[in-house]
């Protein structure tokens, strides 16, 4: 496993560079939007990657609820954090793209709003993990992840109907897509997916190590104090 990391890192760096080249040089310039449209090659793959990571968190949370395996929970945390990072990228690049093209920073567009709500739900998830002092935080967080997942279809439908009643500007790339553009898009998606896997793996290892250290420290403290007194307070 340890050998795989540097190999994957190099592969990712190569893919990201190639992706950048594809996005900025090879892909043809879009007719109506011009070069600004190239933000699309970073914005969309980031969104797909973020959603995949959130899905990984959901699966890990459900597995944790069933198995209570701490390693599974470590994966859940890692996926959630990296997912929020990628989701932030989507929410930042989106308005930067929208402003020159459609003249507005924001609109309650279905995809953008859904991304915002997902970001909010997962930030609240991370806040819960940070502020909870219970030993059972992983369990509570896993339940929150399930609640969040149940919410997503409702968010989708509510925004969809809201937009039919209150027509808003549509932000998107139009219908058909040039094959060279598709190629650039997919290369960048692959590159960012590998990057996400790397970062997630690192975060996972960090979490596992962190827990080992915590346990060792707790054990040390216990041994120093001697046998815990009877009837100790909470």
């Amino acid at each position: 496993m340890k050998r795989a990391f540097p190999v994957l890192a190099i592969l990712t760096a190569v893919l990201l560079s190639y992706g950048l080249y594809q996005a900025l040089v090879v892909a043809p310039t879009e007719q109506t939007m011009g070069d600004v449209q190239r933000i699309f090659y970073y914005h969309v793959p980031s969104a797909w990657t973020a959603f995949i990571l959130f899905f990984v968190n959901l699966v890990a949370s459900i597995v944790y609820l069933a198995s209570r395996n701490p390693k599974t929970d470590a994966l859940a945390v890692a996926a959630a954090e990296v997912g929020v990072v990628f989701c932030t990228v989507v929410l930042v690049t989106g308005p930067i793209w929208a402003r020159p093209v459609w003249g507005i920073w924001w609109t309650w567009d279905l995809r953008l709003t859904l991304t915002l709500v997902l970001w909010l739900i997962y930030v609240s998830y991370l806040m819960l993990r940070r502020f909870s002092s219970s030993g059972q935080t992983p369990l509570i967080a896993a339940v929150l992840a399930v609640f969040g997942a149940l919410d997503v279809p409702l968010v989708y439908f509510s925004i969809w109907f809201f937009r039919t009643q209150h027509p808003q500007p549509v932000m998107g790339n139009g219908g058909s897509i040039d094959p060279r553009m598709l190629h650039a898009l997919l290369i960048n998606w692959l590159a960012f997916s590998c990057f996400a896997a790397l970062v997630c793996w690192s975060r996972y290892r960090l979490e596992v190590l962190r827990r080992e250290v915590d346990e060792t420290q707790a054990l040390e403290a216990l041994l120093e104090k001697g046998v815990p007194e009877r009837g100790s307070s909470r």
């Binding site: 600004v36 933000i39 970073y42 914005h43 793209w97 402003r99 020159p100 970062v199 190590l209 040390e220």
Partner: protein, 39 residues
Amino acid sequence: MNYLYAAYAATWIIHISYLGVLVRRYTRLRHEIEELKKQ
């Protein structure tokens, strides 16, 4: 095309910042492990 470069720069600033956070946590953890090993 400032917007284009701004978007790409923003993307990488966000990613690098997060990696920086991870590196900082890791070094802190390393220190704690050293402490534990001394005891």
